[in-house]
Assembly symmetry: D3
Homo-oligomer: 244 residues x 6
């Protein structure tokens, strides 16, 4: 079985992947309170799982999953126990150093795949940030905004990712059921939406939709189609707009 | 006629506004190339104009427009002449210092009103950034995402704000026609969309839609409705979701 | 009429100015309390006005006025309403990023023209600061120290720029009389000097002296005479010393 | 079975642990080349495994293992593929933010447990760093220096931890044999010492020694004995000196 | 004989000085090329010597001389051998940390006494810098600008401090003649002014003038007269203006 | 007599030393409380004295002693009077700027020689820190760890350097007896070990051992033997290990 986790590879394996023009996904999430019923690693677990499954599916070129950046930017959750947050300036430096290190070994295509609402602004700024000093090219996406339409179709009450609510509870019931305390899966302060409506089935559907979308995005990135879509053009057709 | 521009006021006038629980809008944009036909201050001019008009309309409580932060985060436009860009770390510090200074004089409600796509991620992160050290409360919005539906309805070809294209050309034909070079209003490298379809009329419609939306947002902020919408709740009804 | 304001220009116009070896003036001032009678933009208004008039007068080569950096370094005025101050580290980064961006488009001659006492030390350090990483050449001057002799001759009581006093009140009565509250133009805490002695006529004289001096300085900078004066030499004649 | 991994816990579980005066271990290591035969996560895997085993053994009070800080300070390994390194300033901020976040939830006893030679200086400085702004108390140790005597006794050729050599190869043969490429387990550039002498048995002995020593250290920290040892005293007896 | 050098004192002696409301002088200069004839410590030697002599003269209250901050801000001299320069941001942090540490021990009156032209802007900004976070009060002066009139009277050719020229050569012939290479005391690149006119006698006169002026300044600072002069007032009489 | 102190040299002398491939020692210590009996410059005095003596002894190639960096990283001593401490980030920048400046003049071999326990971690990290941006090569050692065996042999009660105790008191009785208050040379809070056992003779022996060891280290650095020892190798023989 092919290896996809950077941290489990040896330097020779990583060198080969770079030579084969691999795409490297950096999962970014958070360690933060998710109500009384979900583990604090919910965000990073969701997006790491999407990244891993997407990487496993793609066979035409190597896709590596870099070590997850577990903590994110979560000052708004610090008042609840369990949250570990980087300062904004620290977080930007963390993302910069990791991407720059990866690029230093010859990788040309880096994807930040995000799973935490509080990171969205930072992640979407990293492409420009790395341009400041002629750093490597990268793209950054948040898995649940990539599947916003599917999410709205699957959701019965929240119609957004919310926080520790219908959809994240569903995803965790699918991905890490052993860490979910079903008895406390009700609304509590710090929860945005309705956890009682979370189900394994909804989680499975959203997860699979996210994996499929990320697979396509990575294929488009590797083929040059995504980079091409990001270049200013006269005709901003819908296909291009989905990556803007 | 009432004064709304912070920079034209005297300390006593500003002190009175703080006592009257004024909302302070900080216009943030960019100085960057906008094709061959639009001035480099297009982004800041658009959002400053929206801020100013909205402030003039509201009569129930004072609304001040703080000095515009003219330059923004535009490393992706640096290869074209005229762009002046802050580094990402600098920009975050600029926004922090300005908001913190305003709050130091007793203002409790600060709105970053943004007009530049490259700033969106940073501006949306400022609320959390100021939480890091128990700083003041603020909200941050981008005028053209606040009126995304109206924009899609008005636009004939781009259906997004693009860059120096149909909609920004329209806005500048309405707001600063003397600075637009109509003869060169065609697509050129660095333009995203189709400038040839810009018209005064489209600009007027989008501008007025933006002003109306910002007026409502400021009223909701002042009344506490917007802050309330930002608190995690079980029921994420559509009214709340528009501010999330 | 020729265009001189960077922010109102299009990228093609700025590109042409760079090719024509334009001098770029960056007005730097402050947003800070100026007693009960003057607007908080007094400092930046004074030096922007000087910069603009000087740029209009010079015809032999293009002179552009970059977007004003409105806020400055004013922690000593924060206890009075209306002051917006950058932290010292922020301010240095702001000045660096703006000058570096301008230089990136090919401009070789950058002038920081300052109007705020609290900025003097920072502005005078920027030439060396930009040397640190082989950045662009620049010079920095404060308009009222450039005309210290004329100021002493015009002043009847203060004999220095003071703060919101005889001379700044005079300048604002000349430049922005509609923003001056003449009734409160007396000494108050936070004022340094005597505002009651401010007159339109004194303001006009000091302003014109400043414009003339800045015109000469810019001409000397463009011709190489000023840069030459800054090179260490055996003979430190008075002509050279005025720029040291 | 008791939960010890912070990232797998829910906010209520973490809150309880804080109330019970838990010790929190933060494993810190590196992602860096380890010759041609060991995975790049060798350092963090070794010290995370020690931390986890030690936490499982202690029953008198709760011990949590915080999310590992995977990357470390490894500029000296950047020339070999696979290394991901933080800049020194970034790394200090990362460690500070994580420890400060943990302390914010009421934890009083934080241990940085390090597995990477390049981090030793930084980790040993964190106790003083957190003092700078009256931050939380912490201690920092490197697992292999805590068992330096045992290591010298077990080792046959290197007598030091080296890099990817006798002892680290032994530890990985014990902890992650599936990631070790035994065929390439010989000296290569970037290796310090002799990997051919690594054995499962040596790894097991060193690992168990490290776990035992860390268990004692944590017990001493929880009982106050270690903190007491760090206070300057007249009598620097050997028992105290082992923690200095 | 009384002790004045902080670094030679014991903690009990420093504690007593703080209780006695001592003034603490921090000598700041540079390590930089001073032509072919003067040692690289010329600037810091001059101002340390002034500080030490002034401290020895004052008997009414204790005056301590803190450890000299030897290096300064000298990027403009880096192209000549021997110059050691701090980056601007580093230098500001150095000055902040030293002043903050001194204030932490109860000292209320801190004087930065500067001897290097390149530091003037930074030193004059430190009073405001320390205000940013409610830090200690301080004042900052450059010895040769405090005696500008005397300097002009003593000088025969330069009429300014220049660099490694008439006046600095004179001071070093008086203070450290053993480090001056008289044979090479002529103009050379990097020298500003005329070293050939330096004499022991001129050095002695300027030094004594500087010591006297600094003695008065310190006495005024200790008595509150200088602090009072720095408060904005209506009447900016000449006595006050000398400290502005 | 040959000159060894950088600060007393002229630019031409320093240029010559660089051409002759001189080793430059940067003494780093602290200004911090050392009980009631030792001066606050104890740490920097000890290591500067070692550096100076070592430099005087070596005749085969020039050895310069750069200006001492007097203050160090001492937050743990701030609660006692007299301590002046850099923040950790500041200290790293100070060391970086000084080493970088020295290297800019062509010096290839830089030694940080440390005398303060609190600096050990930082100093040992500087070699890697300078690698981050392809800066100069350097090594960093602490004099008392270089002679740990000799220290243990000389010491009668402490068997470690402690703080202001047996061995530092001995060194100061040898190096600066006039600044030691023998009557208060007993244990007091903030002292680690037993000052009463300090003697001139022990100080002389430890000092001479340190000088000899540093002489050898510098000779090994100059000959390339030390640099060679730092390169990862298969055979980590004891000779190499002493420099690891």
């Amino acid at each position: 079985m092919k290896k996809i986790l950077w941290q489990e590879m040896r330097r020779t394996e990583i060198e080969e992947a770079a030579k084969a023009d691999a795409v490297v996904i950096i999962p970014v999430g958070s360690i933060e309170q998710h109500g009384n019923h979900l583990p604090v690693n919910t965000d990073i677990n969701c997006c790491f799982s999407v990244a891993k499954s997407a990487a496993e599916i793609i066979d035409d070129f190597p896709v590596l999953v870099a070590p997850s950046i577990l903590e994110g930017f979560s000052p708004h959750h610090m008042k609840y126990p369990g949250t570990i947050s980087f300062k904004l300036h620290t977080y930007i430096d963390v993302l910069t150093d990791v991407a720059t290190s990866i690029a230093a070994h010859g990788f040309k295509k880096i994807v930040f795949l995000n799973g935490h609402g509080g990171n969205v602004g930072v992640i979407s700024s990293m492409r420009r940030k790395l341009m400041e000093d002629n750093g490597p090219s990268c793209v950054g996406y948040t898995y649940f905004t990539l599947v916003d339409e599917e999410l709205k179709a699957i959701s019965e009450v929240d119609f957004s990712i919310g926080h520790a609510a219908e959809m994240e509870t569903s995803l965790q019931l699918y991905l890490q059921p052993e860490l979910v305390d079903k008895e406390s899966a009700t609304w509590a302060p710090g929860v945005s939406g309705d956890p009682t409506r979370g189900t394994y089935e909804k989680g499975k559907r959203l997860f699979e939709a996210a994996v499929n979308t990320v697979v396509t995005m990575i294929q488009d990135y590797h083929s040059g189609k995504l980079e091409d879509a990001l270049i200013p053009k006269r005709n901003t057709d819908p296909e291009r707009r989905k990556y803007m």
